[in-house]
């Protein structure tokens, strides 16, 4: 079956600016969408650029499930080591512009909402992880992807609107 041609996904940020998920990057994540009733959750980290003199962010790189990760129908555990190595390599290759932006994972539901485990994990990342300004979390549902964002030193998660 041929998938329809993937398009860029663009989210609006409330303070102005956008988050772009280019088609090629989106299709990597979409390939793990849990359409199959026995498909397990998948995920990875998201990296990309803060575009100069703008409020725009572009996601350039996402990691995929790797050895050491644990996948079940309703959970995904990401082990940091291999993902961090991929991040460091992407950062070097980008002239130190491709930075850690957040995380993605799949849900076996049409229009995904974060679970309690998700929110807890996101809040912990806001405290513990090293990142630039804010973190973005993307959940790939079976019908649509959704994204949330929060700034460091907050726990307020803002759902981002998709640009039609």
């Amino acid at each position: 079956m041929n998938e329809p041609e993937q398009q860029d996904l663009v989210f609006y940020r409330s303070g102005g600016g956008r988050v772009k998920v280019p088609a090629a990057v989106l299709s990597v994540m979409q390939s793990y969408a849990q359409h199959d009733p026995v498909a397990t959750e998948a995920g990875g980290v998201m990296m990309g650029r803060y575009i100069a003199s703008s409020n725009d962010v572009v996601i350039d790189v996402v990691t995929e499930p790797m050895p050491g990760d644990r996948r079940t129908r309703y959970s995904f555990y990401r082990d940091k080591r291999r993902h961090q190595a991929a991040m460091d390599a992407a950062w070097e290759a980008s002239g130190h512009t491709c930075t850690y932006l957040g995380e993605w994972h799949t849900h076996p539901e049409e229009r995904p909402t974060p679970s309690e485990i998700d929110i807890k994990g996101w809040n912990r990342r806001l405290c513990q992880d090293q990142f630039d300004e804010e973190l973005f979390f993307l959940i790939i549902g079976t019908h649509e992807p959704r994204m949330w964002a929060a700034k460091s030193a907050t726990t307020t998660w803002e759902p981002l609107k998709i640009k039609k």
Partner: protein, 362 residues
């Protein structure tokens, strides 16, 4: 909106990869040749007129065209080459006793320049002196527009000698023409607006390069540069991303201009070709107040409109795009390979790699 003004600035520069003609290198070379031609005409014309038993006419010279208006661009490789336009004015009436036919006066000019270069050709609107460079036969040229000056004509107007060898007498004409008046009309709105004038010139250069890249140089399928200039005269609005600081927004200015041009395409009667059809008109705001696109066929008009729509799509996409790298890739498709595409790493601010801990999602 991706900020691509840096790339438009580079594209417009007279540096190696920019489209603007350098005032000091290429234009100096053209000016030097123009001066040689002026001296040669002054020296040789008396002899030529004497040979035909005609009274001597002393030419007066005026710069015209894109050199005069400072809207010249570098030609593409394999194109028609660099040029400079020179008006040559003679005190001789266009009609009545002792009047020259347009072609005869052009032949006198051609004869006075005989031997200056290997190739001198009489073309319909001018006498053209071609120059070789680095083995390229017609690398650059000087176009001489020959006029019957206003002082000799009862209506006080300048007339351009139009016609080439092989044209019948009825195809030759003295055509009223006012390049200085046109330039005045084009720039008068910018008398107190340096930023607007500079942007107007940049936008004209971008449109001319777009034309060179998107239309084959063979035939007259391409809209004339003067037509694009007139379209800009009617459709250009100075556009800034920050009005108070006059921060340039050339992408925004181009979008407005192209939208305006597309909105003016309509079904209308084309006088010269005596046909109805969908077209864009570029009317001279000075005499002869004609449509400079009047010789384009309807097929050429359709292709012009289609290519303008492609340009609009690329400009709109660049406006929508958040990644300057992608935006410029799209702009390069319509403006050609001289339009710079920044590396992704040059579009973003530097940041730490970051560190992501292990974790569970549900």
């Amino acid at each position: 909106m991706a900020n691509v003004q840096t790339q438009f600035d580079t594209f417009h520069s007279d540096k190696k990869t920019g489209i603007r003609l350098g005032r000091f290198k290429k234009e100096k070379q053209l000016r030097d040749k123009r001066n040689v031609i002026r001296r040669r005409l002054k020296a040789n014309l008396p002899g030529v007129f004497a040979k035909y038993g005609e009274p001597n006419l002393v030419p007066k010279f005026k710069d015209q065209g894109s050199y005069k208006m400072n809207t010249g661009i570098k030609p593409l490789a394999g194109g028609s080459g660099y040029d400079i336009d020179q008006g040559v004015y003679f005190e001789t009436p266009k009609d009545g006793e002792g009047a020259y036919s347009p072609l005869t006066l052009k032949k006198r000019v051609e004869e006075a320049l005989n031997g200056l270069t290997d190739t001198i050709r009489i073309r319909r609107p001018c006498v053209t002196v071609f120059y070789k460079e680095n083995g390229v036969e017609e690398a650059y040229h000087v176009d001489l527009a020959i006029y019957s000056a206003r002082g000799s004509n009862s209506d006080g107007k300048d007339y351009l000698a139009v016609g080439r060898v092989g044209d019948s007498l009825s195809e030759q004409e003295w055509k009223v023409s006012d390049p200085a008046g046109l330039q005045h009309e084009l720039f008068r709105r910018f008398e107190d607006d340096t930023h607007g004038r500079q942007q107007f010139r940049r936008i004209m250069r971008f449109m001319k390069r777009w034309k060179d890249v998107n239309f084959s140089s063979a035939g007259n399928g391409a809209p004339r540069g003067i037509g694009l200039t007139l379209n800009a005269h009617y459709g250009f609005t100075p556009t800034y991303s920050d009005w108070l600081n006059r921060t340039r927004d050339d992408l925004g200015a181009l979008r407005k201009l192209v939208d305006d041009m597309l909105s003016r395409f309509s079904h209308q009667y084309r006088e010269k070709r005596q046909e109805w059809g969908r077209c864009l008109i570029a009317k001279l705001p000075v005499e002869p107040v004609s449509d400079v696109y009047e010789n384009m066929t309807l097929v050429q008009m359709t292709s012009f409109e289609t290519k303008l729509k492609d340009l609009k799509a690329a400009l709109d996409a660049a406006h929508e795009e958040s990644d300057p790298h992608e935006a410029c890739k799209g702009l390069q498709k319509v403006f050609g390979s001289d339009f710079p595409v920044p590396a992704k790493s040059d579009t973003a601010r530097k940041a730490a790699a970051g560190a992501a801990s292990s974790g569970l999602s549900g």
